[in-house]
């Protein structure tokens, strides 16, 4: 080790710098190299930052999914009242909601039955003009009153829309909330001329519906027992014990049930109807992309692009809004790749053989000998250069879809949406012009993260097919077109607004 130290101290002394290594000579090279080192360091720092953002967004997305799933589970157990959409819900949910209130419902049933009978009798025996009829529906719940108010408002609107003369008021769209064995219907008959109203609660059991409800009403309200209308009501309810509704017709101050119609088609859905509105969707896509303008000079015909490929992976949540509309959002990772090639001027060394000397016979002029010399000459050479440019994007699409049922198992869809995009980074080369005074020169520059705007927006449109495989799983096939509306590039000389067409295939799982 002593020998090693001796060697170092003896032979590691300052050396006199040659002229070519003076500061002025090397300054340009050092600063240029520093720029490239800093940009690569910045690139890795940006990459780390992008990954952090990606993880944060992913965590937020997963948290939202978990929260939504948990919230919906709680809704089923904690809340007795469920907003009724007749076309969405199965019979099974009623079992869940009614159990605790079954006894109270039964108690209320008797009193309600008395009320409806009393009021209908009262109404039938008066000669007052009835302006409008409201039919309210509710389920047995602690929040009965508030929901009653809500439904009442809805039905008033329907009533106004369907008013048909003074003598006959018809309500076309009433919802009748049905528990498994019980009906509870609240009829409110309002007489605006004398500022009076009657509230009629009617609850009956399915098994004796005809006897207790229809028959009693007919008899005590003075309805003609031979009325086909009433018969229809009875028959309909008999056929549809769980879901049915009726319109109420008032003519000559007598309340009739008129032409019962089916508003709640019986639909068999999953056991958990509320959360079934949500789907998790996973898709993998591949396609082509094209940027509208990528280089500054359109006259530069040497610039070629090829193999512009878009690969993307998408995970999202879809929510049904109504039967034919869905909204969805999620996370999509896009990788845009393209091969770019152009001519580049490069320094090269050319070996040149030339005749440097000739030995000539001075008398005859004959060339006796030629001496050739080889020289290395520095020159510029045009070289065709190929690079692969890549651009990585993380986007959050928000999309609304219209569903078109084709067959029992196949739906088509059209979707429109906007995407927020986070540029994770890019790499490769691009061609720029450096305009300095009168000199215009093409310069090949590295694509790095400093070249790109981090936040972008794009629009997307989708044509899709959805094949229902099983109870919870669908297979999706989509053709998507995406168009950037903001420029990805920061540079004034480079405009980058990619258009992309791609096909995706994936599946969705009903939560």
């Amino acid at each position: 080790m002593d020998n090693r130290k001796k060697l170092n101290s003896k032979f590691r002394n300052n050396e006199e710098l040659p002229e070519s290594l003076q500061w002025d000579e090397v300054k340009g090279g050092i600063l240029e190299r520093m720029d490239s080192i800093n940009s690569s360091q910045g690139k890795s720092a940006d990459r780390i930052k992008s990954y952090k953002w990606s993880v944060l967004i992913l965590l937020a997305f997963l948290s939202t999914c978990i929260y939504v799933s948990k919230y919906k589970s709680l809704s089923l157990t904690d809340s007795e009242f469920v907003s009724v959409d007749s076309k969405q819900y199965p019979n099974e949910w009623i079992k869940n909601t009614e159990t605790e209130n079954d006894q109270s419902a039964s108690d209320q049933s008797a009193s309600n039955l008395n009320v409806i009978e009393d009021n209908l009798i009262s109404k039938a025996t008066t000669n007052e003009t009835i302006e409008s009829i409201y039919v309210e529906n509710k389920v047995l719940a602690d929040e009965e009153k508030s929901e009653q108010a809500k439904l009442e408002g809805s039905i008033i609107k329907n009533s106004a829309q369907n008013r048909n003369g003074n003598s006959i008021k018809m309500l076309e769209e009433n919802s009748l909330v049905v528990t498994e064995n019980n009906y509870l219907t609240n009829f409110k008959i309002e007489d605006k001329s004398v500022n009076r109203s009657f509230s009629v609660n009617h609850k009956t059991e399915e098994n004796n519906l005809r006897n207790n409800s229809s028959a009693d009403i007919k008899n005590q309200a003075g309805v003609d027992q031979n009325s086909s209308v009433v018969d229809k009501l009875s028959l309909t309810i008999e056929k549809l014990p769980l879901q049915a509704c009726c319109d109420l017709l008032v003519n000559n101050n007598i309340a009739f049930f008129k032409e019962p119609s089916l508003l709640f088609p019986i639909v068999t859905l999953s056991d958990n109807p509320l959360t079934s509105q949500y789907r998790i969707k996973v898709e993998q896509g591949v396609g082509a992309w094209k940027n509208s303008v990528f280089y500054f000079n359109e006259e530069n015909t040497e610039l070629n692009y090829s193999k512009q490929i878009n690969l993307n992976t998408y995970i999202g949540v879809v929510r049904n809004i109504g039967r034919k509309w869905t909204v969805e959002t999620g996370l999509k990772y896009n990788r845009l790749m393209s091969n770019i090639s152009f001519h580049e001027e490069r320094d090269t060394i050319i070996q040149l053989n030339y005749i440097s000397k000739k030995r000539i016979n001075s008398l005859t002029g004959e060339v006796l000998e030629e001496i050739s010399t080889t020289a290395n000459i520095s020159a510029l050479k045009w070289t065709r250069i190929k690079y692969t440019n890549t651009l990585n994007l993380l986007s959050v699409p928000v999309k609304i879809n219209r569903i078109f049922p084709l067959t029992k198992n196949i739906n088509a869809s059209i979707g429109l949406g906007v995407n927020y995009g986070l540029v994770l980074g890019g790499s490769g080369k691009w061609l720029s012009n450096q305009v300095e005074a009168d000199d215009q020169q093409n310069v090949i520059l590295d694509m790095n993260n400093q070249l790109f705007n981090r936040h972008t927006f794009s629009t997307s449109s989708t044509l899709g097919l959805n094949y229902i495989v099983g109870k919870n799983i669908d297979i999706n096939f989509n053709i998507q077109y995406s168009n950037f509306i903001t420029d990805i590039s920061k540079s004034n000389r480079l405009e980058l607004k990619p258009n992309s067409v791609f096909a995706t295939i994936g599946f969705s799982y009903h939560l």
């Binding site: 001796k6 060697l7 590691r12 050396e15 050092i30 080192i37």
Partner: protein, 182 residues
Amino acid sequence: MVPVHIIEGCKRTEQDSFRDCYNICAPYVYSIVKQYISDQTWRKDAMQETFAHVFSSIGTYNNKLGKFNSWLSTIAVRQSIDVLRKNKHLNYIVPIDDEYDLPDVILPKINKLNTEAFHKLIYQMPIGYKTVFLLYFMEGFTHGEISSILDISTNTSKSQLNRGLAWLHKNVGHKLKEYIHG
């Protein structure tokens, strides 16, 4: 020794501080680069790479952790080796040799050389031997560290060193009188 205010100026990316730092450190860096690289063009590349990396990462330099010259020489050595590697002059595909017990014999002889003679000798030395020899004896790296720097196995590093010592033994022994100062 580089004054603190120049290092601080470099951290603030002041051009004058870069210049002053270069003017102070370049002769020392050149002495390192010169030993590793024979070609003058590559030496210039190595000098530029070294100072570009020094100025780019001078923000991370902490004088409490070591001398500036040590930090500088580490960067210079690594950049010199990178330049050699880029130019494909570092190929280490050699069999494992038996170890020679040469250092104790050779190094005293080398220490008798003057600087010029040493540089001549090093200049003539095959580049593979020379690199490992310089890393081991001049920079004080272990074979494990050398294997990491050169991306070779430890055995290859040992083998190269032994071969280098054997080469020196042969050449110093024959021409010692020629190299000895005075």
